[in-house]
Amino acid sequence: MKSNEFDVIIIGGGITGAGTQRDCAMRGLRTLLVDRSDIATGATGRNHGLLHSGARYAVSDPESAQECIRENMILRRVAAHCIDESDGLFVTLPEDDLDYQKTFVQACRNAGIRADIIDPDLARRLEPSVNPDIIGAVRVPDCSVDPFRLCAANMLDAKLHGGQVRLHTEVTGILREGNTVKGIRTHNRNTGEDQEFYAPIVVNAGGVWGQELAQMAGIKVGMFPAKGSLLIFAHRVNNMVINRCRKPSNADILVPGDTVCIVGTTSSRIPLEECRNVAVTPDEVTLLITEGMKLAPRLASTRILRAYAGVRPLVSADDDPSGRNISRGIVCLDHETRDGVKGLITITGGKLTSYRLMAEMATDLVCKKLGVDKACETAVLPLPGSEEGSYEEVAKKIWENPTTAQKVAAARMGSRVSRIRSTDRRDEALICECEQVTMGEINAAIDRLEASTLTDLRRRTRVGMGTCQGEFCACRAAGLLAKAHGCIEKERADIDYFLQERWKGNFPIGWGDTLREAEYTQWVYKHVLGI
């Protein structure tokens, strides 16, 4: 078999694609994953980072709710280092109907989700940031999850099982012979190289861009792009996920994640052409703040770090303009039976929480078509990094007295943190002070996790995600990238892009400390560094 031939090609480096590649690779298939930019750049990296218990869907979509709770319990085991088992509250405010709580709890229980009605006093003690005016509270097994870490761990495991990954590689055509898909034509956006890859099966995991990809093969898949905007706050205000106990609506979930917390979302339908360039509007910011404050009043005085938006890759089923009533169900399309085109599968819809199940469904179909009879093991075998206990235990096994940077590295990398153990103290140099990212961790991400740009590094290590938003670390990390890749010219352009990306999320919330930071960044980069 030639180097450009595979058993299966997966298009899309989101969590669905990465999960599918891992599953296929674990079943012994030779896999290739391509993405036009980096892993987790679409909906995967632009959401709350909420590992649903399913409670949110219990009333409106029992099937999704059941999927969620099953997957939630599985991922706690197999993706332990990506998940914070925070639990969640569904709170009723004075303006909400307390009767809904009964319906909600019953629906949760029907779906197999543990839902305990607790005294509002207890809720206030469990989660001191919650609005003190709540009149009802239900405790559910919600968690928070780091989608970047989860996606990287899947990609890494696929590679450990022999999979190949080509990032920054755009699919420019689907190769067809008659009614059979033979492979893909690609363009590498880093090197400019055009290349064809062949496989009997191509999996379209392109998320909202799956429609364009299907079109290349002459197939119609109607996507329903729905934009959701969110705000990141600079502090971890809450330790439990806080939801409103009412029919799902705007800005009614507050999720803690690492050192921050995230409130969202809005929901509005947008045309497909706008999906690559979604922007948060001032009205959305106002709505998110006003509604967010109702969940946790402290948000009113907490610095906002960024505003960002993602596009949900839902498949259109009806004409509801909000997109919220559409089932978040998994859609796995066999284009052979659906459209008479052999060798192409589309896997879409679903949720971050159900990515593993989506991958399993797609892989089952791939295996059926290839005549491979091997059972799925992704529900049992842990992801790399999740094999050994808590990050504190992991860190203590490696370092006698772990530093803060070593502890947070262990939290980010799980048991794989042993890879950055070094006898050279210079590897301990902090590149990003806000998020405590060391040179060793950055070099590990460059070497092993396919990071080729600053934004790639940010997704893998949290470099530049902290309060300073990349003020100092961008240049330092760029120096390391330039050294690793030997391309200084490209790195200069990379810094410009990184700064623009940061600003894109800063100016919609540009006041208070954010504006102070922005002014400082302007001075440092324009006047001191001369960029």
Binding site: D427, A429, C475, R492, Q500, W511, L515, E519, V528
Partner: protein, 375 residues
């Protein structure tokens, strides 16, 4: 406590005003929170063309070594920028093609000096570059830890052992006509950069690092020392928390440390900086001057505050306190009689005074003149 003038803010603007007033025989006090824009000063007084005799004596009397050589300077990422008046550390050249072969010196494990970007920028100008790393631990013990490799810590070490750096560079130097060094020399002794130049048989260029800026901190310390030698009272680590204004006249200001001992004066100068230094504040609905609630010159529509492209000029940087030609602000449209506003809190409302360091110095000198009545 009563002074002739109380100055809010101890950065370049506040200190310049304080020195001028002390020289004119006035008694002054400066309230400073600590850090200011000099901590990330590039070393160039941009927007000052020919320095006036007054500006020249301000520097020379403080022991700040400057030179006036209109040209371009090498920026830390390898680009060039036009400048005219600069600290002695900063070399200014007629054109970016200032040499042929360049030796760039960096320190091992120092990530805040961008030798490879510098080399790339110089190579673009047709220069041939060689980068060599010195091990600071070999030069000065005890060794700095990996997270102490920041400009000021390194500079503290080098103040004692800079001659060893000169020796090392002399050994490394082959046929290069230029040596580029990071700006980490002479934190407590402004003469060191020039003495390094004399010790190395090639052109020596100091290029900037990530903040804090060593030449900037040195400048701040020299200005503060000069101010105190002249008898000024520098209240370091304090913050003005309130002010009493009666019949359009500022009566006194209140500070955090002095509690109920108000600072009274005939004149007050507001040199509290822009957003970063908290001279200006903002919320989703307005941009305001928090201490006196002075009238602002800006567009209240938040959508006009920013340009979505980071690299473009950002409108908010131009916003500032509205003043008359005598730098006097107003409150609710009524002029405040004995208050003068200087420095970056003016934003771009006085283009004739320049920007950055130029604005700080010019507006400070102007306020001092208005207060003393001397031309």
């Amino acid at each position: 406590m009563r002074y002739d003038t109380v100055i809010v803010g101890g950065g370049l603007a506040g200190l310049t005003a304080g020195i001028s007033l002390q020289k004119a025989g006035k008694s002054t006090a400066i309230v400073s929170t600590g850090q200011n824009a000099l901590y990330f000063f590039s070393g160039c007084f941009d927007s000052i063309q020919e320095p006036t005799p007054e500006i020249k004596s301000l520097f020379s009397e403080a022991g700040i070594r400057v030179h006036y050589t209109p040209g371009v300077r090498l920026m830390p990422m390898g680009t060039f920028k036009e400048s005219a008046l600069a600290l002695e550390d900063v070399s200014l050249f007629p054109t970016p093609q200032f040499g042929k072969k360049v030796l760039i010196i960096n320190f091992m494990a120092y990530h805040d000096f961008f030798s490879s970007f510098l080399a790339q920028g110089l190579e673009k100008q047709g220069m041939e570059c060689r980068i060599r790393f010195l091990n600071l631990g070999d030069l000065a013990q005890p060794e700095l830890g990996p997270n102490q490799m920041r400009a000021v810590q390194i500079a503290r070490k080098l103040d004692d052992v800079w001659e060893k750096v000169v020796q090392e560079v002399r050994v490394l130097l082959k046929d290069e006509d230029t040596v580029v060094l990071p700006q980490v020399f002479g934190l407590n002794d402004a003469s060191i950069p020039e003495r390094i130049r004399q010790g190395i048989p090639a052109r020596v260029v100091f290029a900037g690092t990530l903040p804090p800026s060593v030449p900037g901190i040195r400048t701040q310390m020299l200005l503060k020392k000069r101010y105190e030698v002249l008898g000024g009272t520098y209240l370091l680590g304090d913050r003005v928390t309130g002010a009493h204004v009666y019949e359009d006249v500022v009566q006194n200001v209140v500070t955090k440390q002095l509690d109920r001992h108000y600072l009274e004066a005939d004149h007050f100068i507001l040199a509290s900086g822009s957003f970063f230094s908290k001279g200006l504040s903002s919320n989703p609905f307005k941009i305001y001057e928090p201490l006196f609630e002075l009238d602002m010159d800006y567009d209240p529509d938040r959508n006009t505050w920013y340009d979505p492209t980071f690299a473009n000029h950002q409108p908010y940087l131009g916003f500032g306190v509205k003043t008359d030609a005598q730098l006097r602000p107003s409150r609710g449209g009524v002029p405040v009689k004995n208050l003068y506003v200087i420095g970056s809190i003016l934003g771009e409302t006085h283009p004739e005074l320049g920007s950055g360091a130029g604005l700080a110095i010019r507006s400070a000198l102007k306020a001092a003149q208005l207060i003393t009545g001397q031309p």
